[in-house]
Amino acid sequence: MSAFKPLGGRILTPAFLFFFTVFIISLYFMVERFTDGMGAVANINSGYPWGIWVVYDVIIGTGLACGGYALAFTVYVFNKGKYHPLVRPALLASLAGYALGGFGAIFDMGRWWQFYNILLPWNWNFNSVMLEVGLCVSLYIIVLIIEFSPAFLERIGAKGLLKVLDKVLFFFIALGLLLPTMHQSSLGSMLIIMGYKVDPLWQVVHFQPLLAVITAMIMGYSIVIYEASLARVSFGGSDETPLLSVLGKVAVGLMAAFVVIRLVILGSQGKLGLIFAGDMSSILFIIEMALFILPAVIIMSPAHNQSPAKLVIAATAMLFAGSLYRFNAFLFTYDPGAGFSYFPSGPEIMVTLGVIAFEIMIYLIIVKTLPVLHRSEQA
């Protein structure tokens, strides 16, 4: 018997209604974007063609949706079966994050009615990093649906289908490990061709894919810790703190590797001096590094790493660290030259908040109706 159970309970809670309201407000601006053009809603311009809809909704959003990816590595590659209870909620969050990233990509796509062009092989440009990202993300959304489908099939009692799926699931799990490795690293590679527009502290050229994939893993582990802790606080259930604190240690290892590799790269490119230049870029770099180091200090301390509250703080810092790295590279320090500036408009921010609210609503509905969360006997 599966120990995954639907939470049950009311769906229309006050929290749910709050998210619903945010989503409805954002819907107004989404419609406006489609009727009056992107310029009517967003502040993007010729120097900053990518605003928060690309950088947050897609580039950072998919990073924050790497929980399923990070856990799959833990459970299926390093064979740590005890983390199995965390897999389904992580997969659900990944599915919600990626699906909404894909949705974000549609309303950020200037010629959305022709989106299918990227799926037609005769259009493909194999030199394009964006092609790899677009195809891999599309494919991964399908893989996530398949990986998550047992929760749905169990609910409707489709035993035959479950048996068939069980036989081939290993292949989709493997794909679910490969595809994010590919497109998450490519998100970094996209920075290479932007050249001088990317600040020297973030323009590490050949090493972009490596740093991007490490941040994806860090964001993946931290979102698992964050969500599991939040679900425990909101819905009760078994205390997974000991498990989470071990995952935290894995994330610390990755963060240490990230910080060391990055400093070595910057050193080899002769850019270490820029860290202390005192300008905006250097300040943002130092804040970012502090966010990578702070959680390591918390998690390595035996007094703190068994405390759920401290773990949430550490996970939050890790999420901000990974997000700020991508924000800095793609937006905050991005400089296309004199005469251009960008700050998101109110409606533009509202659309992004609406997307996040929608993602949370889906998550809440599904954990209450499908067997996603792992419940111990008392539940």
């Binding site: 967003a42 299926y76 079966g81 200037g110 062009n117 030199n127 493997a174 590919m182 050249g195 050949h206």
Partner: protein
């Protein structure tokens, strides 16, 4: 168990470092070479008088509306490239702005339009081949029927040239296609570009890239103060010439080598960083990006090997009673 785990993590780390090592050693392909019969333009900033006849003609050829700024009523006052402006004349000014082509207390004109890169970033970055470098002419063209509007070309252009029509419900990218787009085809018909045709001083000169580069080098090598007979229109068959004293050119032809070179080249008496040209080296970003991408994904060999390995490991671990150590 511990030992096996240790070995496995070691192997994983080694694979990651190995891949990183391969990528860091990735030999970028060389920059692309100019097209065989590459056509282009030479903009000589010292000849430009800022009349903006080229801006007017460009809009006429491309059927675009004039842009008005601050309620001005003169014919076109576009201050920069936009979805409605593919060519614009900008001004550099220093101090009291008295002397033409002087860096101090002077002013100078500069043209902004697509440079038609020899190794274009936009073409390399476009996922759906909406942007292409034409084999024969080297002209960088745009096909709205393929374009999905992702605007990666805009991030990949060192000159911020491709412009998306943000104000249109169904917008598209616009950029100069050297008057050779479908329905215009001036180059294929043996004509020159609109902007070169109407330029009254020969500041914008049309020709083959080779001939223009030779002309540019000849000019920058002239002695300041000498008289030179400047051609106008199409360099291969100039409409007319005018004699003028040679200014103090910088010994630099912009576009000879920058990021692989461009078919539209500039010369000037004011240094190009002051005229707002970007900080580019000789290596094109496209060549570096493609080097990394093809190292990782050539024939999908690396991903295929990785998928096989992952499938094996996942299958074995999933089979060993729902995941090993409980």
């Amino acid at each position: 168990m511990k030992r096996r785990d240790f070995l496995k993590s070691g192997l994983g780390a080694a694979a990651l470092c190995g891949t990183a090592g391969v990528v860091s050693e990735a030999e970028a392909r060389p920059n692309l070479e100019p097209a065989e019969e590459a056509v282009g333009m030479l903009y000589d900033s010292t000849l430009c008088v800022g009349c903006k006849a080229c801006v007017y003609k460009c809009k006429e050829v491309n059927g675009m509306e004039p842009t008005y700024r601050d309620g001005a009523d003169y014919y076109d006052s576009a201050s920069d490239l936009s979805g409605d402006t593919l060519n614009v004349i900008k001004i550099y000014k220093d101090g009291n702005g008295k002397y033409k082509d002087a860096e101090k207390n002077g002013f100078a004109f500069e043209k902004r339009s697509c440079m038609h890169c020899v190794d274009p970033g936009c073409v390399s970055a476009c996922p759906v081949t909406a942007l292409e470098r034409q084999n024969r002419t080297g002209i960088v063209t745009y096909n709205p029927d393929a374009c999905i509007g992702c605007r990666t070309c805009m991030t990949a252009c060192p000159y911020n040239v491709p412009q998306f029509e943000y104000d249109e419900t169904f917008g598209q990218i616009n950029k100069c296609q050297m008057c050779n787009q479908k329905g215009v085809e001036r180059i294929d018909n043996g004509q020159m570009t609109g902007c070169a045709e109407v330029c009254p001083t020969g500041a914008t000169l049309f020709g083959t890239r080779d001939a223009l580069l030779a002309e540019a080098k000849k000019r920058t090598a002239l002695k300041p103060g000498e008289t030179y007979n400047y051609p106008m229109g199409d360099l291969s068959k100039p409409d007319s010439y005018h004699e003028k004293a040679v200014p103090d050119y910088k010994d630099h032809v912009w576009g000879e080598k920058e990021a692989g070179g461009t078919n539209v080249m500039h010369i000037s008496a004011v240094s190009f960083d002051k005229l707002g040209m970007p900080p580019l080296e000789e290596r094109s970003y496209a060549s570096v990006s493609e080097g990394v991408q093809h190292t990782l994904y050539s024939y999908l060999a690396l991903p295929a090997v990785a998928l096989a390995g992952l499938s094996f490991v996942v299958k074995r671990n999933a089979d060993s009673d729902e995941g090993g150590e409980q």
